[in-house]
């Protein structure tokens, strides 16, 4: 990897010392997505910044409730009922030469946003069983999205749909066009979902735990498929998962989230071999090791993810953190600091030049 000289500009340090001319498809900047309900508002995404380089895979990892899925949905500007993006920017640059579009500023139901959804940004989810209409054929749903965005005639759209189904490895795609979702196995359904998401050849695929509901063999097949499609189309992938094994296999860059915030981000080698944040370290230690002793107990992270309504003061992780320092971590909110080549950590231990 190219070594870049350390930059002393504070703004540059905030962004993790990234090269300004890096070709970024998406830049998420201080994104806040909150949910409003009877019991008060929940800050599901609370000031998240990261970026997705063109043609690369960025993995967002975190426990349940870390806000990783909502971050993915926010990029589509399609937050579940009750929630909305309250501030921040999502700069989307489909053409490197043209000015960026701020997705967060578009009307979630408006024409501009709808023209991007499905056409330029595709989504696959963790529930391939429920993600397809139970009463429409695969062909019906494929042709619908193709004709909506690509302005093709019926015949042309059908051929394009069959071609896409073949691409994702559906056997006898022309026949399967008339099949219904319940006539496919789980793995095949996820392939159909991928075909639907990629039918219009988008620039970004948001994959929200796409392999969680699948068995390990199918999971490996789907990951291989995503890898080959990415190489073929120059696709960027935002992969949301809690499975560190999957991350190690596919990620170029990793964003670690905890209770709505990014605690650490960096390239995959750095995160796995030189993690900086105590939370990332603890996460990695809780994964079983191939050459560990059979009698060895797995490390656990003490305590629970804090309630969304009662976020602890100071660093959200301090009640569970072994390195927490009383009087500091329970008082001050940590800021993101760049500590190396694209490596950002949000921890008070690293503030003030440690």
């Amino acid at each position: 990897m190219l070594q870049i000289p350390m930059n002393t500009d504070p703004d540059f340090a905030m962004a993790g010392g990234r090269l300004a001319e890096r070709d970024l498809l998406i830049e998420v900047d201080d994104l806040r997505t909150h949910f409003f309900g009877g019991a008060g508002s929940i800050r599901a995404v609370d000031g998240v910044s990261f970026s997705i380089p063109r043609g690369k895979t960025v993995c967002v990892v975190g426990e349940s409730g870390s806000g990783k899925s909502i971050t993915g949905r926010s990029i589509l500007n399609q937050v579940p009922r009750g929630g909305r993006i309250v501030s921040g920017a999502i700069r989307y640059r489909p053409d490197p030469a043209a000015p960026a579009i701020d997705l967060a500023s578009l009307d979630p139901r408006g024409r501009d946003m709808r023209a991007i959804r499905g056409a330029q940004i595709g989504l696959i989810s963790q529930e391939p069983m429920a993600a397809l209409s139970p009463v429409h054929t695969i062909g019906n749903q494929m042709m619908e999205v193709i004709r909506l965005h690509l302005k093709m005639g019926k015949k042309e759209a059908r051929e394009h749909a069959i071609e896409t189904l073949a691409l994702v490895g559906i056997p006898r795609p022309a026949e399967r066009m008339d099949s219904y979702a319940f006539q496919f196995s789980g793995g095949m359904r996820q392939r159909v979902c991928i075909a639907l998401a990629l039918a219009c050849r988008p620039k970004l695929l948001i994959a929200d735990e796409p392999t969680t509901a699948l068995d390990v063999t199918t999971q490996a097949n789907i990951l291989d498929l995503l890898g080959s499609l990415q190489a073929e189309f120059g696709l960027s992938v935002l992969f949301v998962t809690h499975d560190l094994g999957v991350v190690a296999e596919i990620a170029d860059e990793v964003v670690v989230m905890y209770v709505g915030r990014v605690v650490e981000a960096g390239d995959v080698d750095t995160i796995f071999h030189a993690p900086a944040h105590p939370y990332t370290k603890a996460l990695l230690q809780s994964v079983p090791r191939m050459h560990g002793q059979p009698t060895e107990r797995l490390a656990i992270i003490e305590g629970m993810v804090p309630s969304r309504f009662a976020r602890p003061q100071g660093c959200s992780f301090h009640p569970r953190c072994k390195q927490a320092r009383a009087g500091l971590c329970d008082q001050r909110d940590p800021q993101s600091v760049g500590i190396g080549d694209g490596h950002v950590v949000s921890c008070l231990l690293y503030e003030g030049g440690q």
Binding site: P80, R81, G118, E127, L132, S133, L196
Partner: protein
């Protein structure tokens, strides 16, 4: 699909047989028969009738034979000669009495069903999509009101409104001018102008129920992942709504035809007496009072037939709508 229809039609044969037997037994259950009921009625008017005459009549009608023999005479007449027997009370063949009323009953029921659908469908969708909005509360309030108001009361109020403010003749399905007239466009127009009261009265309860059903079904579907995924493909909200969740929520809606149809037919007795509608309800009630067994039996048999047909129609619609049923 053809196999499905044929199978369903074949199932109907033993079902109809069972219904006809049960119908006949139920009609025979009250002590006595038409002649004892008649004797009692005459006695209450201080008239007497010669027991010999009664015995002669009983023998002539076969009322002294066991029920199985009577059942066989009745059912074989229907199957072999299309003869539904004789109405003792009216002293006419049953078939002469029922067809006009059965067909008007069907007209009223089907119109009511269409009315119920036309009203419940959009309001149900609105109530679900705008859950807890003012409009939803409004629809819910009037829905429960519609369920709670007894039909006969609503009938009386609407009759009053119609007579007092709209100047229509009260009750019935026709103006006096047209009751015995042959069918013509004018008579049809007259029927339509009289139809709205029974349609509203009979339809309110079912409409309110179907609004609740549609709302609940759609609320279940609206947050399903397939809706979210379709939205993520860039579909507009209205197109999305009508194509995916409404389509799936339609299944239980359609299957209600099976129960709404017989409910409309049998639930209309009180209303049709209040509104003096020339449909089956009042005639059936009288036949049951008088123990006019062939007339009552035929009515119940035909209504059961309607129920079976209604269920069949709703099953066929379901199979047509939902591939999981069709192929499953």
């Amino acid at each position: 699909m053809a196999g499905f229809i044929i199978r369903r039609l074949l199932y109907m044969i033993p079902m109809m047989f069972a219904i006809s037997v049960v119908t006949f037994i139920i009609i025979q259950l009250p002590p006595g028969d038409f002649l004892t009921a008649m004797t009692a009625r005459l006695a209450s008017q201080s008239e007497t009738i010669d027991p010999g005459v009664i015995a002669g009549l009983r023998e002539r009608y076969g009322l002294d034979q066991p029920w199985a023999v009577q059942y066989w005479k009745w059912i074989s007449g229907i199957l072999l000669r299309g003869d539904f027997g004789q109405s003792f009370d009216w002293n006419k063949p049953v078939s002469e009495l029922i067809w006009a009323r059965m067909s008007l009953t069907m007209v009223v029921s089907v119109t009511t069903l269409l009315f119920v659908w036309a009203v419940a469908f959009p309001i149900g969708i609105y109530s679900a999509v705008r859950q807890y909005s003012v409009g939803d509360y409004f629809a819910t309030f009037f829905g429960f009101l519609g369920l709670a108001i007894p039909n006969f009361l609503l009938a009386l109020v609407l009759m009053f409104v119609s007579a007092q403010y709209l100047g229509q003749s009260v009750g019935g399905l026709f103006s006096p001018l047209y009751i015995n007239a042959a069918w013509s466009w004018a008579k049809l127009g007259d029927l339509i102008s009289h139809m709205w009261i029974p349609v509203i009265v009979l339809g309110t309860g079912a409409t309110a129920a179907l609004i609740r059903i549609m709302r609940a079904n759609l609320l279940d579907e609206l947050n399903k992942p397939y809706v979210d995924m379709a939205r993520a493909r860039g579909l507009s909200e209205i197109r999305l709504l009508l194509k995916y969740p409404v389509r799936v929520a339609l299944n239980p809606f359609v299957s209600t035809v099976g129960w709404v149809l017989p409910h409309l037919v049998s639930g209309s007795v009180v209303v049709s007496i209040v509104l003096s509608l020339p449909i089956t309800g009042p005639l059936l009630l009288n036949a049951l009072f008088a123990q006019d067994m062939y007339l009552a039996g035929t009515f119940i048999l035909l209504m059961s037939m309607l129920t079976l047909i209604g269920t069949l129609i709703s099953d066929l619609l379901l199979a047509w709508l939902d591939p999981r049923i069709r192929n499953g």
